[in-house]
């Protein structure tokens, strides 16, 4: 277990370094003035420039003893803390809701798979998983705007000032990973059908619900492996949904800083995302270790 975690940590470090190198590739525009009103713009892309940027980057960390300040003179870490807190309001509930409800819905879907309830559920989930989250969000906004304009509803649809601001973006990023979890859970339960231990359990007169519990325990390893995907999906969609809803979180500012070529700031906003991913990997490994002490399949 310890070796496994150490290996994940090394991979994580390599990925961070790889990301920094891609981030530091030169992409600035250089404007030269030739006198009068003659200007030319150029995008230099040479290895020397890249080396210079890497040196500057290291130098920045050496002199500032940390991330330093942004252009407004606010320490980046301070700025990051505020924005990250807003992000956490979305990421944490979205992650656990997606996993928890996804699994519950998957179990329900599996339990009723032969009945019309299950068929309707499968159909609906399939339709919803085909809708891209940005369209879902815009559609929701369209309806809410019409409702607010006609006076049926009074609420702030954009921004991050109200206590309920995080709910709309959260719903938009939760739906797809939740449906994915649901589909995955029901598929892996269906794969268990026909195993010998189920016949034994049934022959001894165990109730269906208890049998389900046994099946679920066998599915844990493959279900928990999906946690990383759920987190990745939430983190990929979050910046865009934040931008659409002007919810000023870390994702919003990550995009902003990348487009403005502020390398240090981009890294400061990207690092927490990478740490979230790493934490998800570690967490799922730990939970797996705790729930399934024996390697899956070792008993069969």
């Amino acid at each position: 277990m310890g070796w496994d975690l150490l290996k994940s940590f090394l991979v994580f470090l390599l990925i961070v370094v790889g990301f920094i190198f891609i981030l530091l590739l030169p992409r600035e525009m250089e404007i030269t003035h030739h006198g009068g009103l003659v200007f030319t713009a150029d995008f230099p892309f040479t290895f020397d420039l890249f080396k210079e940027k890497v040196q500057d980057f290291i130098h920045h960390f050496q002199t500032e003893k940390g991330f330093g300040e942004n252009k407004m003179g606010v320490p980046i870490l301070e700025e990051l803390q505020t924005f990250l807190q807003r992000d956490l309001h979305i990421i944490i509930p979205a992650f656990f809701l997606a996993i928890f409800f996804g699994m519950i819905l998957g179990i329900i879907q599996f339990y009723f798979r032969e009945k019309w309830v299950g068929r309707i559920q499968a159909f609906l989930s399939w339709i919803f998983s085909s809708i891209p989250d940005f369209f879902f969000y815009i559609g929701l906004q369209y309806i809410l705007i019409k409702l607010v304009a006609n006076g049926y509803l009074q609420m702030n649809l954009f921004g991050n000032d109200d206590w309920y601001s995080f709910i709309l973006p959260m719903i938009a990023v939760t739906i797809f990973p939740m449906l994915f979890m649901m589909k995955f859970t029901s598929t892996s339960l269906e794969n268990e059908v026909g195993q010998d231990y189920l016949r034994t359990a049934r022959s001894k007169g165990l109730q269906r619900l208890f049998i389900l519990k046994h099946m679920l325990w066998n599915c844990w390893p493959s279900i928990l492996n999906q946690a990383q995907f759920v987190m990745l999906y939430i983190l990929s969609s979050l910046p865009i949904i934040e931008k659409l809803s002007s919810y000023q979180g870390a994702g919003y500012h990550l995009l902003d800083s990348i487009f403005k070529n502020e390398d240090v700031r981009s890294l400061a906003f990207m690092l927490p995302y990478l740490v979230f991913m790493f934490a998800t990997v570690v967490l799922s490994k730990l939970v797996k270790h705790w729930l399934v002490p024996i390697k899956s399949g070792a008993l069969r």
């Binding site: 404007i31 891209p132 940005f134 954009f158 910046p239």
Partner: protein, 299 residues
């Protein structure tokens, strides 16, 4: 009678095909339909009943079925005229992705040239970093940003990003087939690797290939939509807007480009991002249904 039974048995396939044909019809013949403005005329203002000039964008109305954009161009015409470009980009991204991924999958399966390490590293990297962030970082690199053939580079970047995922999927398939006896037989009579790939392994994968290729078209459409929201141009011109100031301007009609300004539009003229996003959702739906339909058909 036979047709009706076929439709009843393969309802999803038929529905998907029908939606696909409708999509193709609007893509290729849409511009000749009445009510479609082929020149995409811009309107500076219209007079209201009270003789007040009104500037675009105009809401959906009888004159403009889906409203107009900020230049006063009819949104329905824009969507129809942009369909060809959009579909071309989406389909070429998907096909290029599979053309690269399948040979990679075979090489990774054979563990030759260290491709299996490359594939697993690509997958590891992309399971940590959201692909859309990598897209932004890569397409803003100067060689791609200022290139004359920017569209081609953009397509290759978008295709290459998920090559690892597809290659890994097919590597597993290859390993599964390779454990069968006829492959051992082939190996024992000494067929070359290329022949093994072409005649022994690939024929078993045509069905799976088609299903996952059609399903991937939906994913590519989704990624392309995200690019639109982020304001990355597909094709562009670089001009000097003022003394010493330069900017890029969008020259593409593709649907994601109608989402460029959605940050502002969603607050004032939500129909501008809504209908292009709806059109993209239709494409995703069509190909998802088709992929499911083909899967059932193959059974």
């Amino acid at each position: 009678m036979k047709i009706i039974t076929f439709i009843r048995h393969h309802f999803l396939f038929c529905l998907g095909m029908l939606m696909f044909l409708i999509l193709l019809f609007f893509t290729f013949f849409g511009e000749y339909l009445p009510g479609i403005d082929r020149d995409l005329k811009e309107i500076e203002y219209i007079w209201t009943d009270k003789k007040i000039p009104l500037a675009p964008p105009f809401e959906p109305s009888e004159d403009y079925l889906l409203g107009t954009d900020r230049d006063g161009r009819d949104l329905l015409s824009l969507i129809v005229m942009g369909a060809k470009e959009t579909l071309l980009i989406i389909i070429s991204i998907t096909i290029i992705r599979y053309l690269i991924a399948i040979p990679l999958a075979f090489l990774a399966h054979k563990k030759s040239l260290g491709i299996h390490h490359l594939v697993s590293w690509m997958n590891g990297f992309l399971s940590y970093i959201p692909s859309i962030i990598l897209v932004i970082l890569l397409v803003t690199l100067p060689p791609i940003l200022t290139s004359e053939t920017r569209l081609l580079y953009l397509i290759i970047v978008l295709a290459a990003l998920e090559v690892g995922r597809v290659a890994e999927m097919f590597r597993l398939e290859f390993s599964q087939i390779a454990s069968k006896e006829f492959v051992t037989g082939g190996n024992s009579i000494g067929v070359s690797n290329f022949r093994l790939f072409r005649k022994y392994l690939l024929p078993f994968l045509y069905g799976k290939l088609l299903i996952s290729l059609v399903g991937d078209i939906g994913k590519v459409t989704f990624l392309l939509g995200q690019i639109g929201f982020l304001g990355i141009f597909i094709t562009q011109v670089f001009v000097q807007v003022d003394a010493g100031q330069f900017a890029f301007f969008n020259t593409s009609l593709a649907w994601p480009m109608l989402l460029l300004n959605s940050y502002n539009d969603i607050r004032s003229a939500i129909w501008i991002p809504f209908f292009p996003a709806l059109a993209m959702t239709y494409v995703i739906f069509t190909f998802n249904i088709l992929s499911q339909g083909i899967q059932k058909l193959a059974k």
